[in-house]
């Protein structure tokens, strides 16, 4: 499944917000055709890591390599140009626009001919491409012309994922794609993520739901208090192991002094 150099490779990435060390020398990789689950407790740095890769809050320190080449990601456009797409938890859809318009928001197809002078939209072409893309992804939406606000949560999530694919990215990062979804809808979204892998994309999934993570991920990457706290092959590990890494129990058991110090920074978490 994974071959040669990883698509995206982070080495020693750090990010500090004032006194808070949000990311502490994190190494992270994603390969083509691989789904990596990014898990960790609240405040562990999952979103910070994704935002650093997406260029929203660029990393302070460390190197990022994309397809083996060292790159700088200082703003969202940098990430987009490299081929890194991000689907945020709030999806960033316009509820008052239909599916086609949401998919092409900000990169509308323009009509040829005299319409060019007014930057006229080519609705037919956009609808055609939308239909193609959605059927390729086996996403079923009652009508491409229905307002996105009328769709179910799962359908909206799928529209958001489909939109991220329009720029032909190589890596797609999904922030909590199954949060707030019902069981059948979650299943649809997980199916869609599997199809992303079949398209040989590198996929990063942030999730709280370990059942979902184990259902789709090849590899699970655990963050804890801004540091890498374990990396597991999904088929070789169990939920207990991952939970141990998330909560830090595993490390405590090993009496790891360095980490003991780290966890003492937030004693209230240990108490709870």
């Amino acid at each position: 499944m994974t071959n040669g150099t990883p698509l995206l490779e982070l080495e020693g990435v750090s990010k500090r917000f004032g006194p808070v060390q949000a990311l502490d020398r994190v190494d992270f990789t994603v390969s083509a055709g691989e789904v990596v689950g990014l898990v960790g407790d609240n405040g562990a740095g999952k979103s910070t890591l994704v935002k650093a890769i997406a260029g929203i809050n660029p990393a302070d320190d460390g190197t990022i390599r994309f397809e083996g080449r060292e790159v700088r990601i200082n703003k969202p456009q940098d990430a987009t140009e490299l081929g890194i797409a991000t689907v945020y938890q709030d999806l960033a859809l316009c509820d008052n626009l239909d599916v086609v318009n949401n998919l092409f928001l900000g990169r509308e197809e323009r009509a040829a001919g005299i319409g060019q002078a007014t930057r006229q939209l080519d609705e037919v072409k956009m609808e055609h491409e939308t239909a193609d893309l959605l059927s390729n992804l086996a996403v079923t939406i009652p009508s491409l012309r229905s307002e996105v606000g009328t769709l179910s949560g799962g359908q909206r999530q799928q529209v958001a994922v489909a939109r991220s694919l329009l720029g032909d990215p190589k890596v797609v990062m999904l922030d909590e794609p199954t949060a707030a979804l019902g069981v059948p809808q979650t299943k649809q979204v997980l199916e869609l993520i599997r199809r992303l892998r079949e398209r040989n994309l590198g996929v990063v999934v942030i999730s709280h739901n370990l059942a979902d993570v184990f259902a789709i991920c090849d590899r699970v990457f655990v963050l804890r208090l801004g540091k890498a706290a374990g990396e597991f092959k999904a088929e070789d590990t169990t939920e207990e192991h991952v939970i141990g890494a998330i909560t830090g129990l595993a490390e405590n058991r090993e009496n790891n002094e360095a980490d003991r110090e780290k966890s003492e920074r937030k004693p209230e978490e240990e108490g709870a």
Binding site: L105, G106, R107, V124, K125, S143
Partner: protein, 405 residues
């Protein structure tokens, strides 16, 4: 609850026949509000016609069209502002000030009429640009920026008019804008061109969809629309011809409504306006220059206010201290809202500027015919606005209960 239930029923239907439910949904979501307004217009017409038989006479209908030109033109700009979910309270004052600038340049400085008109539009556009920039750059509520504008530009109007406080316009090119009527033949040529162009647009659009394999529901609905518009245009021209003829003012208003509806619905810019009005953050993340869109929309609003002011001055043959004052501003905002453009942004169309102006104009005109006092007129117009906003709010609530925000 009933809305939620009907949605589920809709969804169940969708599985079996997407095209039919799609067509129904389109009708309900897209055209219901305009159907509602047209019905309202019919009711208004019946009420006034019963009490005063002159109401539906050709002469009065022509007058009505002339009366709504200014409000309609200003409303065209307001629609764009409302689509953003913002408000522009300065349009009345801007229309007065722009008209005053035109009058001073034309009367006192002997400028060419078209240059004077262009200067008026430039004044309106600059004011809109300034207000839009202040609003988007400093994140001040548009309500406050344009309220300040309302006061300031009204002061500027008094300043520009000087001591006399009134200027009579005598350039026939300017007064002709609102007082030119075309001959019957020209009127029918207009009708033929409008119907022909509409038919061509519908046919070309349909052919393109068919060749892309996207056609749904066949050409029947298009034919219905074509026949409906043709009948409407022919009837309108017949009525106008039986009085003084098709007024130039009506053609100007229609031209701006059609042109701006095209901008709103068919161009990239218009799509971005809807996007910013629906979810500004999503628009920003999609790479849309949100502030640029905002400034452009306020510039449009200022320009349309100026054009409306020019038409008002032309019809009145003068500009005075009351130009752009009174309830003009509020009626220009009320019109599109009555006709279904949402105050909350992201929903509406430029047609509502025309429809709303027709509703407000009909009420005002009808009550004038019945010689009712301003007191009654204002109260009734206020009641109609309240009713329309309540209908909008209820529609919005139903959208929310059925999961559509």
């Amino acid at each position: 609850m009933s809305a939620a239930a009907s949605t589920t029923a809709d969804d169940a239907q969708t599985g079996q026949g997407p095209t039919r439910s799609q067509a129904i949904r389109r009708l309900v979501q897209g055209d219901l509000s305009s159907v509602r307004v047209v019905l309202g217009l019919v009711v208004i017409a019946i009420i006034f016609q019963v009490q005063e038989s002159r109401f539906l006479s050709a002469e009065n209908l022509t007058n009505l069209m002339l009366q709504i030109t200014t409000i309609g033109l200003i409303s065209v700009g307001i629609v764009f502002v409302l689509l953003l979910g913002e408000i522009d309270l300065s349009v009345g004052a801007v229309s007065g000030l722009s008209a005053a600038v035109m009058a001073v340049l034309s009367v006192n400085h002997g400028w060419n009429a078209y240059l004077a008109i262009a200067a008026a539009v430039a004044v309106g556009a600059s004011i809109g640009f300034l207000q839009g920039s202040l609003f988007s750059r400093f994140v001040v509520p548009s309500f406050v920026v344009t309220l300040a504008g309302l006061l300031a530009w009204e002061g500027a109007l008094l300043q520009v008019l000087g001591k006399t406080g009134s200027l009579n316009i005598n350039d026939p090119k300017i007064t002709g804008l609102a007082n030119t009527f075309y001959s019957d033949t020209v009127g029918w040529i207009f009708a033929a061109v409008i119907i022909g162009a509409y038919g061509a647009v519908l046919a070309m659009g349909y052919r393109k969809r068919v060749s892309a394999g996207l056609a749904d529901g066949g050409p029947l609905s298009l034919i219905v629309r074509f026949v409906f518009l043709s009948v409407l245009v022919i009837a309108a021209v017949a009525i106008l011809n039986s009085d003084r003829g098709v007024p130039l003012a009506v053609m100007i208003l229609l031209g701006f409504v059609v042109g701006m509806e095209y901008v709103a619905k068919r161009t990239t810019f218009g799509r971005h306006v809807f996007a910013v009005g629906g979810n500004a953050e999503a628009a920003r993340r999609a790479g849309i220059r949100v502030n640029g869109v905002r400034v452009a929309v306020f510039t449009i609003s200022g320009s349309m206010a100026a054009i409306g002011g020019v038409m008002a001055a032309s019809r009145l043959f003068a500009v005075n201290q009351n130009s752009g004052g009174n309830e003009l501003l509020l009626l220009a905002i009320a019109g599109p809202v009555i006709a279904g453009t949402s105050l909350f942004g992201g929903r509406g169309s430029v047609w509502t500027a025309l429809l709303g102006a027709l509703v407000i104009g009909s009420i005002s005109n009808g009550m004038d015919l019945l010689s009712l006092s301003s007191a009654v007129k204002l109260m009734v117009t206020g009641g109609v606005l309240l009713l329309a906003v309540l209908v909008d709010a209820v529609a919005r609530q139903q959208r929310q209960t059925s999961g559509r925000v």
